[in-house]
């Protein structure tokens, strides 16, 4: 997991990457999930968050906190959330305080991560892991990204892209551990 290029200070994330770089053993988990937002301006809806186009953005149109809800079909292990936001382009629309919540549904979401962005400019990586090795992943049905406040106290927010990552499933089903050595991997599948 790559953190922002400028380092991190206790829940504050500064800067951002221009290139999205993610570990090989992570894969994007939210392709089949149901995405929804608390409010949006016509023409800048939720689709812009997933269209792989950094020029289009989602613009909220209501009261804070602005919410992005991601509901999965089954419980998934998640490890990383990546946002593309740009202070230079969006100025007062750029999110500042973000809270990430997880749970089974709207009724029992619990905050798992709180972060503050300082003038971000690019991809911002937010890891969901805890300190305990048992908490490397968050196993959940639903993820909610709440934007609590913006830079310069803006009311609405712009987010250009969101991606959610989790571990790749074991290519060999019904297997406790993944194979690492070449001898095993060569023999492990028929293509």
């Amino acid at each position: 997991m790559a953190e922002s290029s400028e380092g991190e200070e206790e829940g504050k994330l500064v800067g951002g990457d221009q290139q999205l770089v993610v570990d090989d053993d992570l894969c994007e988990m939210a392709k089949k999930a149901a995405w929804s937002v608390s409010s949006c301006k016509p023409g800048n809806g939720v689709l812009s968050l997933r269209d792989d186009n950094l020029d289009t953005y989602w613009q909220s149109d209501g009261a804070q906190p602005h919410l992005v809800n991601i509901q999965f079909q089954k419980k998934v292990k998640l490890q990383l959330v990546v946002l593309y936001v740009d202070f230079k382009l969006d100025e007062s629309y750029t999110p500042s305080k973000i809270s990430i919540r997880a749970g089974d549904g709207f009724h029992n979401l619990k905050e798992i991560k709180a972060i503050e962005l300082v003038k971000p400019a690019g991809w911002v990586y937010i890891s969901l892991s805890g300190n305990d090795p048992r908490e490397t992943f968050v196993n959940t049905f639903m993820l909610q990204i709440a934007i609590l406040s913006n830079h310069l106290n803006g009311r609405d927010t712009h987010v250009r892209q969101i991606k959610v990552y989790g571990p790749r499933p074991n290519p060999i089903p019904h297997q406790a551990f993944q194979f690492t050595s070449r001898e095993f991997i060569t023999y492990s599948t028929v293509r």
Binding site: D23, R134, P167, F177, Q178, T180, S181, Y187, S188, V190
Partner: protein
């Protein structure tokens, strides 16, 4: 004018000037509308890849050749029903299939594409019997899993057949004999030959063939394909139904049969004999030729002829068999000589021919039937025999002499060409036999046997693209990717523009994780032929190796579009869908692959994996079992079958299969690991630990081995060892999930198991 136009069109076709051909042909059809001319126009269009035009022109025509061309165009346009109706009209079930072997082959393909396996097999077999050089039909039979042994298919009968085809007159028989002699080399053929020889003998001599008959009897009939009935020494020239020209000659042959027969007999045991026979025949002249031809045509005759020399027939056959080793023809010679002794005088020619190179023999045979030299010297015998035989031949029959006189030279000439054809045919068939056997074995996934067979090929044949890529495929099926890589590399050097088997090569490189080589291969293939499915398969494999499954999928879909009858492209699509977790489409792709080729075990395996992932264990077991039945030697499939059984809680069976898998391929660590897993489930911890220790030796850097051992130690409450092994597992840099699991396991080391979160 019609003739001129026709000539012009055919000339243009020969020189690939299709526009000219089409234009001229249209004029021809307009000026002289006839079915033949419209056939010609259709041919022009077909050559120019405009099957639709040919379709419209030929629709409704009933001439045999028209029906065949119409069926071809329908097949190209994928209108299989119409193609089938054209070749095999439903209301005229007894109608002759147009164009013989080619028609049967096309019909077989149609049946195969429409899933009518039995009919397809029947027609391919028919095609092969009509034209033994129709390799494609044999290939299809192998793919369907219903091919007979190459030795029988490309045996004496085949040789006789070819002879007949290539030698319009009795020569054919001679060649057949020669070929028969060659055939004799192969034991299986020997059998055939033997059968033939007696028959030939009978036919040839008719009455005077006592020798023959004698030989016939004496000759050990290895296979005695029932030619035995010839014993009657029937003057059955009719026996040689095949060569009609012979029939004509038979009249003459009647005169000379005895000598011929003898010769034949002499040659009997050895295919060489046939060669020898041919020579005598030449001397004997047309009449003799006739009977000989029959003899020869039978191909088996050669063998038979070997037998004819019955006296030493057994010996001869043995000699032949041993002699054969290298040159088919030669062996005959040796045998011939043996027999010759018996009939020495008469069968001079015969014996000689058999031995030694048929070719040289044939040459000589014409000259003389010097059967006298029945020495084993393969070549020499033949020559001598021929010389002797010629003389002897001439001697015995005055009439034949007369005949001889008329045609000694011509006969000789005929004999020569006949024997040449015979020799050529036998050589070719010998080659096809090896290739056919190899291909059949590799289709049956008996890869080591196939490799052994291919090694028997002469060097220059071995170093061709097709053979090398077959060798590569065989290594691939045996999961020996390094050797496969090597073989495919040579194949590419031998024929850099051939795409056959390159999809398998790309998979080999994928398994070896050679991304540079793979991308180079893919680029080369695409630049060679953008429209071949193999190139896109290679490209897709390249992207898949880099884990870009979506692009890989696009490439495989392109391959499917280019050729929907290419089963492997469908299977690869399926693999990519599964990697993208789109199981529905994955299943669909695998099923399309199976629709094209039921024996494509990769697709069965893929389906098994999908169901395993979806935890539908019954289905998964069924599919793995189907894959296993098709390829019972793959240790990977066996170990997955075991995994599925394990999931179904049938642990005993699972263990059995795992044992088999371990035995099948010692280098495969997977079944050992799975065996350990099963033993853990069965709570046989010591057994499991033993197996894992063994695995540690084999793959010391495999983290999952240590992780599993750690787990076992934890179950046994041996915490120190568990800790050690978990630590080692972590050192091997496993994936993030595993790191998490292992670390969690470490934390919970002293916590009882129930709470643990095992997969």
């Amino acid at each position: 004018m019609e003739a001129i136009l026709t000539e012009c069109v055919q000339n243009s076709l020969r020189h690939f000037m299709y526009r000219n051909a089409i234009f001229m042909c249209e004029r021809l059809c307009a000026e002289f509308p006839s079915e033949t001319n419209s056939q010609l126009l259709a041919v022009c269009y077909l050559q120019n890849n405009q099957a639709y035009s040919a379709y419209h022109i030929l629709k409704g025509n009933h001439m045999a050749h028209s029906r065949y061309l119409f069926a071809q165009s329908c097949f190209k346009m994928d209108l299989l029903n119409e193609a089938e109706a054209a070749l095999c009209p439903p209301n005229e079930s007894s109608a002759e299939i147009p164009n013989g072997a080619a028609g049967h082959y096309l019909l077989g393909l149609i049946y195969r594409c429409t899933d009518r396996r039995k009919s397809a097999i029947y027609h391919f077999n028919q095609a092969l019997s009509l034209d033994p050089l129709l390799w494609a039909a044999y290939e299809e039979l192998c793919i369907l899993g219903a091919a007979e042994e190459a030795a029988t298919v490309f045996g004496d009968a085949a040789s006789l057949c070819i002879q007949k085809q290539h030698l319009p007159h009795g020569l054919g028989s001679k060649s057949m004999q020669a070929s028969a002699e060659d055939q004799g080399l192969i034991s299986s053929r020997n059998v055939g030959a033997e059968d033939l020889s007696p028959r030939h003998l009978k036919n040839i001599h008719g009455n005077s063939q006592r020798d023959a008959a004698g030989n016939y009897h004496s000759a050990p009939q290895p296979g005695g394909t029932g030619s035995q009935p010839l014993n009657g020494g029937p003057t059955t020239l009719s026996f040689y139904s095949t060569p009609s020209p012979m029939a004509a000659a038979s009249q003459l042959s009647g005169v000379a049969p005895p000598p011929i027969c003898r010769n034949m007999q002499i040659n009997g045991p050895n295919s060489c004999a046939t060669g020898a026979d041919s020579s005598p025949r030449s001397t004997v002249n047309s009449t003799i030729q006739a009977p000989r031809r029959k003899f020869v045509d039978e191909g088996k005759l050669r063998k038979v002829s070997g037998r004819l020399f019955a006296d030493s027939a057994p010996r001869r056959s043995i000699r032949l068999a041993t002699g054969d080793s290298v040159a088919n023809t030669n062996s005959n010679v040796s045998t011939v000589s043996g027999n010759g002794t018996n009939h020495s005088s008469k069968y001079l020619g015969g014996s000689k021919i058999a031995t030694g190179s048929v070719r040289p023999v044939t040459g000589r045979k014409g000259q003389s039937w010097s059967n006298e030299n029945f020495d084993e010297g393969i070549k020499h015998d033949g020559y001598d025999d021929s010389r002797n035989s010629s003389t002897t031949c001439s001697s015995p029959s005055s009439e034949s002499r007369s005949l001889d006189q008329e045609g000694p030279t011509s006969a000789a000439g005929v004999c020569l060409s006949g024997s040449r054809v015979a020799v050529g045919a036998s050589d070719l068939l010998a080659l096809l036999r090896i290739l056919g056997e190899g291909y059949r074995l590799s289709c049956g996934y008996r890869c080591q046997d196939a490799l052994d067979v291919y090694v028997k090929l002469p060097q220059k044949q071995y170093n061709t693209g097709w053979v090398l890529s077959q060798v590569g495929k065989a290594y691939f099926e045996m999961v020996d990717y390094v050797e496969a890589d090597h073989a495919f590399n040579l194949a590419r050097l031998a024929s850099p523009y051939s795409l056959e088997g390159m999809d398998v090569y790309s998979t080999v490189l994928y398994h070896l994780k050679e991304d540079m080589k793979l991308s180079y291969l893919a680029q080369e293939l695409i630049s060679t032929d953008r429209l071949a499915p193999q190139s896109w398969c290679a490209m897709g494999n390249c992207y898949s190796l880099q884990k870009d499954h979506e692009t890989a999928l696009k490439n495989f879909q392109r391959a499917v579009q280019l050729d929907s009858r290419f089963a492997y492209a469908h299977t690869l699509c399926g693999h990519e869908y599964v990697a993208l977790e789109d199981f529905e489409n994955g299943i669909k792709s695998y099923q399309s692959a199976l629709r094209v080729d039921t024996r494509h075990y990769n697709a069965w395996y893929g389906l098994g994996m999908v169901y395993l992932r979806q935890e539908k264990f019954e289905f998964s077991e069924h599919h793995f079992r189907m894959a296993f039945q098709i390829n019972p030697r793959s240790s990977v499939i066996m170990s997955y079958l075991g995994t599925a059984l394990h999931a179904l809680k049938r642990n005993k069976e699972a263990l059995e299969i795992m044992e088999k898998a371990i035995m099948a391929d010692k280098k495969n660590p997977l079944p050992l690991y799975q065996k350990a897993n099963i033993l853990v489930t069965m709570e046989n911890f010591d057994g499991a630990l033993e197996v894992l220790e063994e695995l540690k030796e084999y793959a010391p850097r495999e983290s999952s081995v240590y992780a599993l051992m750690g787990r076992i130690y934890k179950r046994r409450d041996m915490y120190d060892k568990a800790m050690l092994h978990f630590g080692l597992a972590l050192d091997m840099k496993p994936s993030a999930t595993d790191v998490a699991t292992i670390k969690a396991a470490i934390e919970k080391l002293h916590v009882p198991d129930e709470i643990e979160d095992n997969l």
